[in-house]
Symmetry: C5
Subunit: 380 residues, 5 copies
Amino acid sequence: MINKIRRSRHFNKETFMRDFFHEPGNVPGTLVIDENAYYPEIILIDYNTDNYTKQEIASPEECIPFLDGNSVSWVDVRGLGNLDILQRVGQIFDLHPLVLEDVVNMAERPKTEEYEDQLLIIARMVVPKKNAFGFFSEQVSLVLGKTYLLTVQEEPEHDCFDAVRSRIEKSKGIIRKSGADYLTYALLDAIIDGFFPVLERYGEQIEDLEEEVITKPTQKTLQKIYKIKRELLQLRRAIWPQRDVISSLMRDSGENISDEVRIYLRDCYDHAVQVIDMVETYRELTSGLMDVYLSAVSNKMNEIMKILTVVSSIFIPLTFVAGIYGMNFNTEKSPYNMPELNWYWGYPLCLAVMAAIAGGLLFFFWRRGWLERSLTIKQD
Amino acid sequence: MINKIRRSRHFNKETFMRDFFHEPGNVPGTLVIDENAYYPEIILIDYNTDNYTKQEIASPEECIPFLDGNSVSWVDVRGLGNLDILQRVGQIFDLHPLVLEDVVNMAERPKTEEYEDQLLIIARMVVPKKNAFGFFSEQVSLVLGKTYLLTVQEEPEHDCFDAVRSRIEKSKGIIRKSGADYLTYALLDAIIDGFFPVLERYGEQIEDLEEEVITKPTQKTLQKIYKIKRELLQLRRAIWPQRDVISSLMRDSGENISDEVRIYLRDCYDHAVQVIDMVETYRELTSGLMDVYLSAVSNKMNEIMKILTVVSSIFIPLTFVAGIYGMNFNTEKSPYNMPELNWYWGYPLCLAVMAAIAGGLLFFFWRRGWLERSLTIKQD
Amino acid sequence: MINKIRRSRHFNKETFMRDFFHEPGNVPGTLVIDENAYYPEIILIDYNTDNYTKQEIASPEECIPFLDGNSVSWVDVRGLGNLDILQRVGQIFDLHPLVLEDVVNMAERPKTEEYEDQLLIIARMVVPKKNAFGFFSEQVSLVLGKTYLLTVQEEPEHDCFDAVRSRIEKSKGIIRKSGADYLTYALLDAIIDGFFPVLERYGEQIEDLEEEVITKPTQKTLQKIYKIKRELLQLRRAIWPQRDVISSLMRDSGENISDEVRIYLRDCYDHAVQVIDMVETYRELTSGLMDVYLSAVSNKMNEIMKILTVVSSIFIPLTFVAGIYGMNFNTEKSPYNMPELNWYWGYPLCLAVMAAIAGGLLFFFWRRGWLERSLTIKQD
Amino acid sequence: MINKIRRSRHFNKETFMRDFFHEPGNVPGTLVIDENAYYPEIILIDYNTDNYTKQEIASPEECIPFLDGNSVSWVDVRGLGNLDILQRVGQIFDLHPLVLEDVVNMAERPKTEEYEDQLLIIARMVVPKKNAFGFFSEQVSLVLGKTYLLTVQEEPEHDCFDAVRSRIEKSKGIIRKSGADYLTYALLDAIIDGFFPVLERYGEQIEDLEEEVITKPTQKTLQKIYKIKRELLQLRRAIWPQRDVISSLMRDSGENISDEVRIYLRDCYDHAVQVIDMVETYRELTSGLMDVYLSAVSNKMNEIMKILTVVSSIFIPLTFVAGIYGMNFNTEKSPYNMPELNWYWGYPLCLAVMAAIAGGLLFFFWRRGWLERSLTIKQD
Amino acid sequence: MINKIRRSRHFNKETFMRDFFHEPGNVPGTLVIDENAYYPEIILIDYNTDNYTKQEIASPEECIPFLDGNSVSWVDVRGLGNLDILQRVGQIFDLHPLVLEDVVNMAERPKTEEYEDQLLIIARMVVPKKNAFGFFSEQVSLVLGKTYLLTVQEEPEHDCFDAVRSRIEKSKGIIRKSGADYLTYALLDAIIDGFFPVLERYGEQIEDLEEEVITKPTQKTLQKIYKIKRELLQLRRAIWPQRDVISSLMRDSGENISDEVRIYLRDCYDHAVQVIDMVETYRELTSGLMDVYLSAVSNKMNEIMKILTVVSSIFIPLTFVAGIYGMNFNTEKSPYNMPELNWYWGYPLCLAVMAAIAGGLLFFFWRRGWLERSLTIKQD
């Protein structure tokens, strides 16, 4: 029942779209396991106002005792590399086959779907890379029940939930006093706010490029601009549906989410809109940069042409004059044959004529303002 | 009653729009048979939980016994080359003349229309070509009745329903336990998912072009970009109305589609949105590539101009100097006439001056950073 | 009461917008007769299931006997060149002054308006030119009453209703059994389907240009692209409001249009949407062509520059070398003055040096891949 | 209470936006009088079916006797240069302070606002300039009461109401039989129709530019295109809200406007939509022209480069050959030193070689098709 | 509880977006104090029809006596540099933690939120710089209660409320007779109207650039255009949500805002729409300018190339002719070896030939119209 996955070769390119292609004609609900995926590790955090437990559990069944009761249980599955474990998780939480498929098959579009007493949220999380530009992008699925929250991440590294975990552990804010819906909100908020540091980097890079594009436009500049453009497209594709998810949670999510949490979601929604605003602004700036680049390259060409034109226009006529007096007409045959060659002041006069021509042309080009810029050493 | 078909000469160009032009003023319901079309072959698959029959039938009437009863009958007509057979199919399934026209006349826009106890769905299927880029695009018409599904395809090759046929035959999933509406869903899902492998290829090609456009931009690159752009336009034209079709099936399709299947259609709808997302992203990337191409070509020109400028600017002045001492002023007539020619160190000094000029210019260009790039051998 | 018409000088240019400018401040309902317009000829077709009459009538009043009764009367007025006749037509059909103004004054925007027992439809018809690209565009006004349909065309030639006339005459389809509303539908359908042959030509032309723009981009190419762009704009301006007209007929047109005909209008609406789809696709292709053109021109420039650069870079240094040994330094004055001139192997050595320089440069350019393309004869 | 007006220096540039800037923090209702504005002149036209009076009145109070009664009074204030008169007008017509502010402060956005028994309409009128391209743009405020219409214009010249005045005077159409609401309609219709002659000029200018941009693209062409673009932006800014005004009058304007007049407004609305259509079409054409311009300039550059390349490529090698035989190698020292110089046929052979080179290159360029175009005299 | 603020390095660049990045995972309601922020100064203005008090207060608690009673109290906090004071302000006004966070954390998106008996408005104020282009942009938070208005600004300088303060002090208009909601309106109106002077400058700058871009397009021009584009993006980002804020205040703001003030808000809304109109128009003009710039640069290149082509095309052939007669063929060996050198009129004839060539080429270029423009001194 496990089909061979069809995955684009983009997989190992971290910042490009890791698009998941649905195998046409598959039975709906088919789980596709990627052989290179991480083996799932499961972290259980169980808490209420008074108690707090955190443990890594080996088999999914270990979390069953925690699910019923008056505490919030957060079961965090990280890694999608084992079919058996994922299916057992599905059974424990009584997931609809389509839900399990959405959770396991990455690269779904962010969305929310309501089931009888569960709420499925597919979100996309971005985490900036440590020492390079770009970011990791990862799908996070959240299944919210009455007293539990099941989250499924693609891999154990790179998430942006540490601050939330610490808030639970240290009982900061009202999180320990609230239910699983508040936890869902807190995670969604962390996901949305996780876009800001990524965007901040693009803002800085765009600012650097604004300088570079004018002073030193090279092929590299062009590649950088295009790369930013592509990655912003990717961010945009991630954040737009996420906004709709939050908006839909605020309005339609039934009894799974309390009114109190809805107020907090409004705040989260505002941040999502702000992220969208910034992505769109950066996209416009990037496309403006492309225009500027093109103009700057044309400008550069003008400068190059000016140098060529100045040098050629001055020396080609001079060379012609020199060429004339290099001709071998026989001055003895006729007084009209290059008498200048035999003049007393012939050579100095010839040089003077050349100097006059050069001076005239230099004046012409100087008046046009070509000399200052063109002939400065070290322009770019 | 059969009019001569007006078909654009695009017909044999597989990837361009095979637009069907309605003959102005025709009686509505006129069937237009293309002489080169395939002779229809009819495959009947009849199944329920317990039984499974698959047979190719020669005359449409053979399927009548299967239509009534408690099994699902899938009548798959492949080929539109015979008027008589198509009309008999129309009579057997009691099709409205306009439905029959839509089914037979290819190149309709995807749409869905509800008739008394039938549901007409016009869809468009894409199948990637085997050994070339591009894809085949084909219209599929589905007529859903209580216990049967009639599908009409343009030609017997290239469809993406094999996986569904195998699911029926091997009774995978719930398909054998479900009705004709589930079969409809399964086929639609296969059609939508059929866009993914096609898109995957474009994703790869765009990625290749991202490299090519910077390092080696040629006319071919330009043609490839334009071709992708054109084919994405075509995909877009196919998928957008298809999304609306599915959305409308989810909402409005009356009793023809059961609530259970509607849930599955939601999944199918998500995939259609994902296809649209990818098509639009690829279109934006393609149009970004065009900008990059233009910039890269300008950059290339700059490099060419730099070489010309460096070479000309260095040698033209030197040639001028050589030209001066090639003049024939009579040194005997006057001590001012080119005394340098008779100097002891005249020639070496002249060469030294030339070297100084060349060195100065080389320094000037080196400071501008032109030499490194321009004069490397093997740039592109 | 007849004002001088203000008409743009575009009138005689067939493919550009023949915009009609409303004289500011005119009494509403003012009829403006163009002196160059055709003298109206009136064709009456009267039919029911059993009878069929077609006659050209000289005075509008001749059609009065046909209007009451149990047959459908189609009064087709072609030409707007006579005020008196048009006013008499207005009286016979009891037209509101504003309706008559809309009918007579061409270049209205397609629209539909409902009056007490009449329905006014302003449509725009396009007819491809015979031996040239481009099309004629003409306003057709339809006034639908209970048992009659009045149509007013700008001129007697060029319409796309012949097939409908033949269907009436030969009693094809259900037209003879249906009312005036079905006739209205049939004409509208013919008008919409009339866009297809026009579009087909643009499709072909775009395909030709796709080749031309890369292999042989000239000023003419540019003009053609722009011309297509402009004419597509015109088609778009005609078809968009027409779609709204049909959509509004389907929904709002009261008792003038029967439910049965509404089903047919749905088909007509689909075709209008398809026309819009094609116009928009062609517009995108055209604007892509403009980008390709610009890029191809830049590419061409690169090729030109490469030739110049190759030729100049090779021969300018060589000429410099020749210039050196053309100098007249007195070899007798000093052993340092151009001793090469007196060497036994001087000349061959000099030629060898030149050959080495030329060879080196050729190798440099060959490695850059400039020679193959640039120096092939007959490139474009 | 009268603040110093902050007005952009664009004021005297007729075609650019005369933007009025609201002084931040002002008391709402503050009237700002421009010192250079015209002194208001007040024209009163009072009419009903039987009577007609037109007079210029010196003080606003003179119109009070006309306001009550069974005639329609049109009070037309032209000029905004006197605070006292405007305030007295405000008192007579019992205007809300905000209404008076909107009326007096120019450069409001077209809008309509309903007050208890008054209807305020802010419109924008354009009048083509006499002997130049471009147009005057002026705000017209209309205050419609039961039996009167107050209009306020910026200045006494340039309006497009003359035809309406003449219709009233000569009792053309139904204007004398209708109320103040019909007069309002007539003026709005004249304002909208006033856009047509302005647009007509742009249509003509665009058509001229279509030729110029290809055959003779200069800086001037560029400036003209940009100017048209800018002015179309201005027209667009004026007409879009005006359409909304009319649409809102048709739907929401309460009892101030009778049902009969609403039918006429529909016609006016159609014209507004047509104006928008044309503005948008012209904008698209203009932006197409910009693309064509850029391409044409690049094309021109190609032609220039071809000439340079042809001339250089032919003569530079020839000059090199001449340079070789200008070298001074001593032929007496060695038989290898330029023996050609002493050949009997040396010079003719040398010329023949040159001719062969030149011929070969000419053939090469001719095959590329560069010669015909490049070397024709009088190209542009 | 105070986290280290993550602030982009854009902070000190005044005109770029000072984006505030929400720390992912923070407890909602966390206050982030910027160490470089201004120490809050608090101005209290308390007024009713009869009384007026204005004082700077040192501790927030001093305003408590004013809050209850029949006067309007405007508490204006300027500066965000002290956590304690801000928290005490929060307690005094009983602010929800999320409200306090929004107020303190700058760079929120303009929005309005309704709480039980308070209305929160986040607005963005722009103030033009004194001696430079660009503007300061600052967040203003307004909390409207029954009898008080709390405003929080980022810093004590640069606001646009002076005119409102003076209206209160001097009792201009109805402000002293109205409630806190009118004060809110007055401040919002001042904020919106504050965009006009900023926009005015851009209008002027665009107009200057329209000239510069054609006559003297340099790198600087390009940078200016891009800068304007970027800053307009920023203005747009500020004004669009502000329009929605006002629109929402007009419709939904419950009992906090009286009907009378709603009428005034309509005026304010009109101004916001006008600002948007201007921003969008300026953006279109700016992007048109970029196109013009690119074209102008290309044009300039054409001029440069023309000069080069004219000079080269004239002198290169002449130099070739001179080169020919500089060859050293031995005229004594053969009568065919350069007999011209020994002709009586050899030299003058040679000069004549050169003059003829030069004349012919000059004529050729003059006919093409290249000479007038290219060779005028002082072109740009």
